[in-house]
């Protein structure tokens, strides 16, 4: 059976590309079923997803990296799920990504400009890293400041996917005292749809899942108040955590190496931020569904939440005060001193009333 017949696709489509790379229909349907499940769609949707993806033109994607650690890119490439993540590179045309692309120097920048021109209004912009607003010189690419490159690249895009906590909320560069004046993509670009995919890094299949959703439906998924796709960020880690029963029973590990920790009890007391962290770690897990931080014995640090770095310490239980109560002692002292002064005034008033007492006689009973 020819590749054309296998996918029944037009030249230039995803289906043709896949066929040329020798991907079997069986592999492709497996991938589509997995994607369908991940997107919380009914199983019957798998063939429709397959159809949409196969039919789609390979999506032009420009990936910009600003103040970041390349962890997001590492995550998406080092994925142990070749039937999923690698396929992504068959679905899209990654026209610019300065870590992955072969071209360098002027040629690289030229590729970006060409892609923007060829796909004006249609290309997808992926950003990882935050943008320094303190001084444009803090981070530049080919002599272009991050800010200028973002604004320029965003002009003709169909939508932006902010990948990683830096691009979505400012991330670690923004951590107190934010020396570079780092901001998120959404703080600069106001007139384009932005999908936030936070995480440090985000879960690889979440990143790919968001792209698949965009390709399948041609529009951005339903987002929460922080611009995150609800399909992946709709519930907290705590809600879906396999250790949740221990929390409900009040069974907690007190240290990382005690008997309770070995028994796999809840890590809440050790500072787990699962209850306030919205992400899919507990369900999707990492490395082909192998594990996630809590399963490996460490509490969630809340990396997919804004300002997680400054949220009061990774090892402090959520119910504990974030800061030591330095002010309270002073307040106690002030309360004692000032009120004692006020008390002297009160006692003085009482004594004065007593001193001014005029002994009542019978005549004094009448007004």
């Amino acid at each position: 059976m020819s590749a054309k017949n296998l996918f029944g696709r037009e030249p230039g489509s995803v289906g043709e590309g896949l066929a040329q790379r020798g991907v079997s229909r069986r592999d492709f349907m497996k991938y589509c079923s997995a994607v369908t499940a991940m997107l919380n769609l009914p199983v019957s949707m798998a063939s429709i997803v397959a159809e949409s993806i196969a039919k789609a033109r390979r999506q032009s994607v420009i990936w910009l990296s600003f103040q970041e650690c390349t962890g997001c890119t590492e995550a998406i490439t080092r994925s142990h799920s070749p039937t999923l993540e690698n396929l992504i590179f068959d679905l899209i045309s990654l026209d610019y990504h300065h870590t992955l692309q072969a071209a360098s120097g002027d040629a690289a920048e030229h590729a970006r400009e060409q892609a923007m021109k060829d796909n004006d209004g249609k290309y997808l912009l992926i950003v990882d890293g935050s943008i320094p607003m303190g001084n444009p010189g803090y981070s530049t690419i080919a002599g272009i400041s991050n800010y200028d490159m973002l604004v320029d690249s965003a002009k003709g895009c169909a939508a932006i996917v902010a990948v990683g906590t830096c691009a979505t909320y400012g991330g670690i560069p923004k951590a107190d005292p934010n020396p570079t004046g780092a901001v998120s993509v959404a703080e600069i670009i106001k007139n384009k749809p932005i999908i936030n995919v936070p995480g440090c890094p985000p879960i690889p299949v979440v990143m790919t899942g968001v792209l698949v959703h965009f390709l399948t439906f041609g529009k951005i998924p339903e987002l929460d108040a922080l611009g995150r796709p609800k399909i992946f960020y709709g519930e907290t880690i705590h809600d879906r955590c396999y250790r949740r029963p221990f929390y409900d029973q009040g069974k907690f590990a007190k240290t990382f190496d005690d008997e309770a920790a070995r028994k796999g009890w809840c890590l809440f007391e050790l500072g787990c931020k699962g209850p306030v962290t919205y992400n899919a770690c507990a369900t999707t897990k990492w490395n082909d569904g192998t594990s996630f931080p809590i399963q490996s014995g460490h509490g969630c640090i809340g990396c997919s939440e804004p300002n997680f770095w400054d949220a009061g310490g990774f090892y402090k239980a959520l119910s504990m005060p974030a800061n030591p109560l330095e002010m309270t002692g002073k307040a106690a002292l002030a309360g004692a001193v000032i009120s004692t002064a006020a008390l002297y005034a009160n006692r003085g008033k009482k004594a004065a009333a007593k001193a001014a007492h005029e002994t009542t006689t019978l005549a004094d009973l009448k007004k």
Binding site: F268, P321, G335, N346
Partner: protein
């Protein structure tokens, strides 16, 4: 301000401010009240006073039969909501952790299902007590705006805490932050409202028991 930043603020600066004002206010009020002094009773005592003082502190936590029959809602509702409040505040594990973190000691908590049930019962009792306040002529007559405000301020931590645990209405992070904020507001208002009876009720019972012990009638 995003939800986690809000939560971080209420756990940090907000809690610091609230606790400071609370401690300041409590000390202020205690000194203001108990510093005024009491004249020594010169009459010959019939019996010891201290034992009676302690007795009254304990005894008044429970109703007398006659009073119970006449104000069943006030008493039953009041007792359930006070004990419920104490259980929820003192035996919910995250609360114990807070205490442990601040003072270095803690105690075992209750399963969250139990806390959940107690919270609902406590809220129902509080609602009944409020309805009673609105319906019963004496209570309605005595009530001031402050009585209703303090009811709301006491109810809010219960409600928001419960909603947060149940994941209702608002995202957990935001609800948890609102819960902590509501507790902070309660802490700030407590010393300067009738809620200060949480402290003075014991002093008042002591005084009452002391006077009556002096006369040989333990009340």
């Amino acid at each position: 301000m995003d939800h986690l930043a809000f939560l971080t603020w209420v756990r940090g600066t907000g809690l610091d401010i609230a606790l400071s004002l609370f401690v300041f206010g409590v000390l202020w009020r205690l000194i203001e009240i108990y510093g005024l002094g009491v004249k020594k009773d010169l009459s010959e005592p019939r019996a010891g006073e201290a034992a009676s003082g302690w007795h009254t502190i304990w005894r008044r936590s429970f109703p007398q039969k006659e009073a119970m029959m006449k104000s069943p809602v006030t008493y039953a509702g009041g007792i359930i909501f006070h004990f419920g409040l104490a259980i929820v505040v003192l035996f919910f594990v995250p609360h114990i952790l807070l205490i442990k973190d601040m003072f270095g000691f803690g105690w075992p908590g209750l399963p969250s299902q139990v806390i959940d049930l107690v919270t609902v019962v406590t809220m129902v009792a509080m609602i009944l007590v409020l309805v009673d306040r609105l319906v019963k002529p004496v209570k309605r007559f005595l009530s001031t705006k402050a009585d209703y405000i303090t009811w709301v301020l006491t109810f809010m931590p219960l409600l928001t805490g419960w909603l947060a645990v149940q994941h209702l209405l608002l995202p957990y992070t935001l609800m948890l932050a609102i819960h902590i904020l509501s507790v902070e507001i309660l802490l700030i208002v407590l010393p300067f409202s009738k809620l200060f009876h949480a402290f003075t009720a014991f002093g008042s019972r002591w005084y009452n028991g002391e006077v009556n012990g002096h006369k040989g009638v333990a009340v």
